[in-house]
Symmetry: C2
Subunit: 554 residues, 2 copies
Amino acid sequence: MPFCLGLDFGTESVRAILVDARSGATMATSVDRYADGVIEHALPGTVVTLGTDWALQNPADWLDGLARTVAGVLSASGVDPADVIGLGVDFTSCTVLPTDARGRPLCQIDGLVNQPHAWPKLWKHHAAQPQADRVTELAAESGARWLPRYGGRISSEWMLPKALQVLEEAPEIYRRAAHVLEGGDWIVWQLTATLTRNACAAGYKGLWHRREGYPSRAYLAALDPRFERFYEEKATGNVSAPGSLAGRLSPAWAARLGLGTDVEVAVPIIDAHAAVLGGGVGEAGPLFLIMGTSTCHLLMASGESLVPGIAGVVEDGIVPGLHGYEAGQAAVGDILAWYVQHAAPASVHDEARAAGCSVHDVLSEKAARLAPGESGLVALDWWNGNRCTLMNSELSGVLVGLTLGTRPEHVYRALIEATAFGTRVIVEAFESAGLAATRLVAGGGLAANPLVMQVYSDVCGRDLEVAGSPQASALGAAMLGAVAAGPDRGGHASLAEAVAHMAPPPSRVYRPDAPRRKTYDELYRCYRELYDAFGRTSDAMPRLRELRVKGVRS
Amino acid sequence: MPFCLGLDFGTESVRAILVDARSGATMATSVDRYADGVIEHALPGTVVTLGTDWALQNPADWLDGLARTVAGVLSASGVDPADVIGLGVDFTSCTVLPTDARGRPLCQIDGLVNQPHAWPKLWKHHAAQPQADRVTELAAESGARWLPRYGGRISSEWMLPKALQVLEEAPEIYRRAAHVLEGGDWIVWQLTATLTRNACAAGYKGLWHRREGYPSRAYLAALDPRFERFYEEKATGNVSAPGSLAGRLSPAWAARLGLGTDVEVAVPIIDAHAAVLGGGVGEAGPLFLIMGTSTCHLLMASGESLVPGIAGVVEDGIVPGLHGYEAGQAAVGDILAWYVQHAAPASVHDEARAAGCSVHDVLSEKAARLAPGESGLVALDWWNGNRCTLMNSELSGVLVGLTLGTRPEHVYRALIEATAFGTRVIVEAFESAGLAATRLVAGGGLAANPLVMQVYSDVCGRDLEVAGSPQASALGAAMLGAVAAGPDRGGHASLAEAVAHMAPPPSRVYRPDAPRRKTYDELYRCYRELYDAFGRTSDAMPRLRELRVKGVRS
């Protein structure tokens, strides 16, 4: 019987899953925490300290984890290694590293271990903000065609600001880098001895476009003359859709993993996008919500539309032949965590302690007993700015309707509702652009919260499915392997087919309640009024932000 | 040497002060808690329970407290009782009781002790809300001239709704009531055997106007035919300005208190208004802020102006010959108390416990270290609606500018600032009507908080004096006694003169800091925009309130 491996490289650990290549049934999973974790203070084994907002990883951790978890699933499942036909990888993004011409990470080269810029920059490395600001400003000034596809703003988390930071702060490291590439692409290069780049990361984080390519030489030279040939020189390698065949397992890695050299290795994908596949969506139409600290909304369609307020669209970004649209809310679970830590009163903490449960549990239980509207509150969920549809990081959160009778569960429910209204705005933005979501499917940590899910269903007036797989990203990666192996080997002919066969059905479907939905329609009207008033008409929030910055400095 | 007594009847206790009639120097004070306190659940000594929102007092407590505290100050001071020349009273209002023709409270008459409506209704008895609504509606429909003087809405706390509730729910009690009168007027009646009514309570709470008198018979009959002659039959007695001579101490009370029958007893005043006098304001011009759970703003001027958004104006209400203007913020200290109880996180409570201080202390100390604007927040202080200038109890509180970096001290300071902005709106409303406050003077519990006072001074860009007397109401009552006694006996010729001689200088003056004021001007601009948006343009808050009421019922 044929099996596939999925490898899910996260922020703190790597997870392997071994599945039946036809049915997707899980045979075993294994997780390995990175020894050096997220490197934020000092380089491992050195006294070299890092600046504010730095976040690195150790590529040795990735490979060690890969080897250990693959050994783990083979041993736990008892599957014959000869029956493994395909292997897929998903990775955080944009996690990016410089290597020499042979693919050796610069941080592993003698004499460079003490150089922070020689190490992989993790997605949440935020120290390239000045570079990001210049990337955006120059693109805006020069009227770059690609800027609107990204909502008019390039994040400090992405490829170009990170590479530019290396050039400016460590020109010698930049010079010595033969390649600058995504962690996922590097892993696949290691495994197959072939360098390819995945269209998902290249498109969403690297400013690549299937038809237009990368930003121009002239633009790069205007950023810095030494940067003119960045893409040509250091970002080489064909860009391919995730699930395409990257190559077969190299003899060295086949030996190290105890697998055959006939294992087909797929072009990788970003972890969030893998969750769409593992969550059961392989076709155009459904909107997939990955709900955690923030929420990422992904929808595939067969053409490129301009969706006002939607930040990223990449052809071949998830499934070949389809355009993947990405929207997002900058804070969701983060708002609830903020509430518990900084605004839930002592009484609620006492109750949680007495009941032996979490503060979230206490608040969820009380909030679940409230009817829509009963809190008297409506909030704007902009605690971390608004990513969609306003693309404005200077916006901030609002609570309206506070009275002397307002209690913690009122606020907690209003915050959940506000994030649901934010999702409804995105759903409607897609609709207005002719991309009405055919289904709503949710994954991620918050999808396990019944109160949150029911509120979202009631607010959107839509069925809301919870993805059946508890490890959707890893399963999605395994699907890439099954497609790379193809039907002749026992895999699948396409991602759509792989998803159809390998994804479990939804674990639960939340259905909207008509009376609750009606009340939410009225509350949503309030939300939209506040949304337009604070997001479009008034400049009160940017002014408050400016006063804050001045105040902090005084 | 001549001395005066001031008696301050509060919600929980009565306080006596004995002062030098010329200089106002305090000789002694004494406080006595009412044995039955605020009666909210069952009538004393009975099993008769009260409805929701009821609040009564026992008139026996008033007299017992009066006798005990007068004995207390005489004994503690060693003053010769023969040297006491005057006595003044202040009282909560509208605290109202029915009596027989001789002034005996109906609750002390055989057979009526079990009748809740036979007892005095305390100012905060809120069970006459249905009656208050009808009083307001009918006045609006019939175009009553007096309604605009009260901001278009009659409170359930006032005389007419309370009397109407007695009529409707206990017509037999209503029939047996020869008089329905204020607690302060009743005390003075007891002491002097002469029934007068003070213009302060009659004007602010009884709908009396010096030139127009009371609401018309036709209006009362439309409320209820049996109510037609309420004022003529049950609200008899001349209305006189506070500090006028009501009469001399009756032989019975002189004997009970150990005082002479030549003690001149003054027409009383409401407790808040007494604080203005005791706080050092006896003339036209200054704005006096009584800052506690809510804030009452009082300003005297020489004519009757229409001040849009200011709720009450009464000729002779405080000082004869002057018009007393009353504005207010419905919640101030209440908002901070709400924050500590329902929104200050466990961490702050832990810090307070560790430091052995209050949560307010911890928050005030941290908030005091912030610069204006540094919180990034601006709030609307409408947790209990907006009394001035919008007169709308359906409005509610707003917080704008929340981020993941918002901390408790940011919110706490923003709430203080919001109440300061609310006061600035009132100061400016007076100014726009040609009544620019010549000074700002604060009294009440919050006046002891240096952070609050400094913020108010910076926000208003004005010097802010803190009244020098820690018991301004009682001192103000004693001033009434000194004026009733007059200069020939060793008192004073007028309230203005009494205040000039008897009030201590401000205990502290807060002065605005120019840079902070400048930042607050910018924040105030945000506040005013929100004020107009939510208070005038948008109906979001009334809609939220309606949804809340529906939600609670569902």
